[in-house]
Amino acid sequence: MTAMRLSVPSFLVVLGTILLVPVAVGLFRDPTGISLADALIAPSPAFPFGADHMGRDVLARIAYGFLWDSGLSVTIVAASLALGVGLGLAGGYLGGAFDGALTIVMDLLVALPHLVLAIVLMAYFDQGPVALAVALTLPGWVKYARLARARAAALREADFILMERVVGAGPLRILLRHMVPNVLPPLAGLAALHLGHTVLNVAALGFLGLGLQPPTPEWGGMILESRPYLYQAPWLAITPGCFVFLFMMIFTLLAARLEARAGEGEREDAHAAA
């Protein structure tokens, strides 16, 4: 996505506004209040995005769905980042048997389709938010670890790291104070893209009935729940779909922006690892 010539920052502001304004409004409304009398009401002043088959306010469910989807995705990306950078640095810096084992585990995990792995994990575990976070973090950390490991292996031989050892810094200090700050910046673009993908995957799992379970407001689950009413109430499917799309688009553009900043050389690493 480096081929982006759109005026990315202004575009991001516009898209972000479209996403966040309804969310901000919807958070003041009730996402779970069931009122069967209001079932399948079309968009109107009382229900700007309509009401679903339980008479629940779709605007409120979109807003709380945003909290769930984005909150979970941020958690998953943060956990993947921490795990990936931690393991990757340790592997790259320590080398030896640990690095060998890490390489094998990473090769095994990249060779499996991530969504398939997550689907299988979700099907066999209690389908709550914790399980979902674990199921998507498990394959998610690998791309960070690959990059971090490569950078750490290069940094290990860097003069300034050698000098830290000469002046007596311990391995933990070297890792945290000197390696991490030098490994993280190129990962920002990757993380932005990962965040978008994670929302997409959370929603896809929800759509397959394997993600967060109803009545939790979650965008993919909302699309699944709306399928039977595609005719009478198409807005039920269209609205959450648009929000997933919007979210993913924002982070794709952001990733492009961050990647362009991170520079040409590191871009190639990111593609190879992704």
């Binding site: 081929a3 389709p113 993919g220």
Partner: protein
């Protein structure tokens, strides 16, 4: 590194992947809440998941399916049979899993190939447009962003509404003729071309800056000649291996799309197996997916190896 050594390592890794994937799934299916014998008893024999069976029948089922053996032994037994092409009997249908899987390979292969080819064709068109038609860059970039951003299950719903019901052009679901593949393949292709376009554009830009391209320009060759003879050829080469490596990603999409369109392929089989806790079918499907992806990764690696000399020395991990 020699090619033999490279192949040896990659094949070893592929085998390890298949073992890892199936062993993990095997353990998961056994750790899952709900007694395996109970599930088989009520779903296979009684045919009604809510109707509990008699205690005495549980023992019969456990013995017949070897469920009272230690877990490792059960896995080894499964693997031994799987190597001989015997994947056991499906809990959902009672039919041999191997037969069911064999029937479902075709639709998935057609879907994967058709969508990849279509995505590449769209990519080629867009890349050419950017080069040959002025002021299309913005539109192409926007299309690429939209492509990678749209949820495929959502796109599928919209396309069915428009093309099956609105315009009455294509079937809603099922298999049986080429027309059943048009919408699913289109959804997957529309989700993939953005990735290919971005990759291709980046690769083209790199090729643009190469010395021989500048030389060709300096010689006074017309721009489209330069593009065709020097830029394009050198830009395609690095992209080709990534197309093969894309298969793992594609499989995620196949699972969702086959479900959406009731297409009797491997991905739909996998999700159906999960729905009813059909462990034998799930294991076989996972094994086949792992083999598929491993072969694709291997192909991608070999292409990279053949096309990019640097890889020969690093071995890519």
């Amino acid at each position: 590194m020699t090619i033999a050594l490279f192949l040896f390592r990659r094949l070893g890794m592929a085998a390890a992947t298949v073992v890892f994937a199936t062993a993990l799934t095997f353990v998961l299916t056994h750790l899952a809440p709900g007694d395996a014998a109970e599930i088989i008893l009520s779903r296979v024999f009684i045919g009604d998941p809510e109707t509990a069976g008699a205690r005495s029948d549980l023992a019969v089922v456990a013995t017949r399916f070897g469920l009272d053996n230690p877990l490792a032994l059960q896995y080894l037994e499964w693997a031994r049979n799987a190597v001989h092409g015997d994947f056991g009997v499906s809990i959902a249908s009672g039919m041999p899993v191997a037969d069911e899987i064999a029937e479902r390979l075709g639709p998935t292969a057609v879907l994967a190939l058709a969508s990849t080819v279509a995505a590449l064709a769209v990519t080629a068109g867009l890349v050419a447009a950017v080069r040959l038609v002025p002021r299309t860059r913005l539109a192409v970039d926007a299309a690429a962003v939209a492509s990678v951003s749209i949820p495929n299950f959502y796109l599928g719903l919209v396309l069915v509404l428009v093309f099956s019901l609105g315009l009455d052009l294509l079937p809603v679901s099922g298999a049986g003729s080429w027309r059943h593949y048009v919408l699913p393949a289109a959804v997957l292709a529309l989700g993939q071309f953005g990735y290919f376009t971005a990759l291709m554009n980046a690769s083209l830009r790199d090729a643009d800056g190469q010395l021989y391209v500048l030389t060709a320009r300096a010689k006074g060759l017309p721009p489209h000649e330069v593009f065709r003879r020097h830029v394009l050829r050198n830009a395609i080469v690095p992209v080709v291996p990534y197309v093969a490596l894309q298969v793992a990603f594609l499989f995620g999409g196949v699972v969702v799309i086959e479900r959406l369109f009731s297409l009797p392929g491997l991905g739909g089989y996998l999700v159906d197996a999960l729905d009813v806790r059909n462990a034998p079918a799930l294991l076989a499907a996972i094994a086949v997916v792992a083999v598929f992806v491993s072969v694709a990764n291997l192909t991608g690696d070999l292409l990279l190896y053949a096309l990019d000399p640097r890889v020969r020395f690093s071995g890519r991990g």
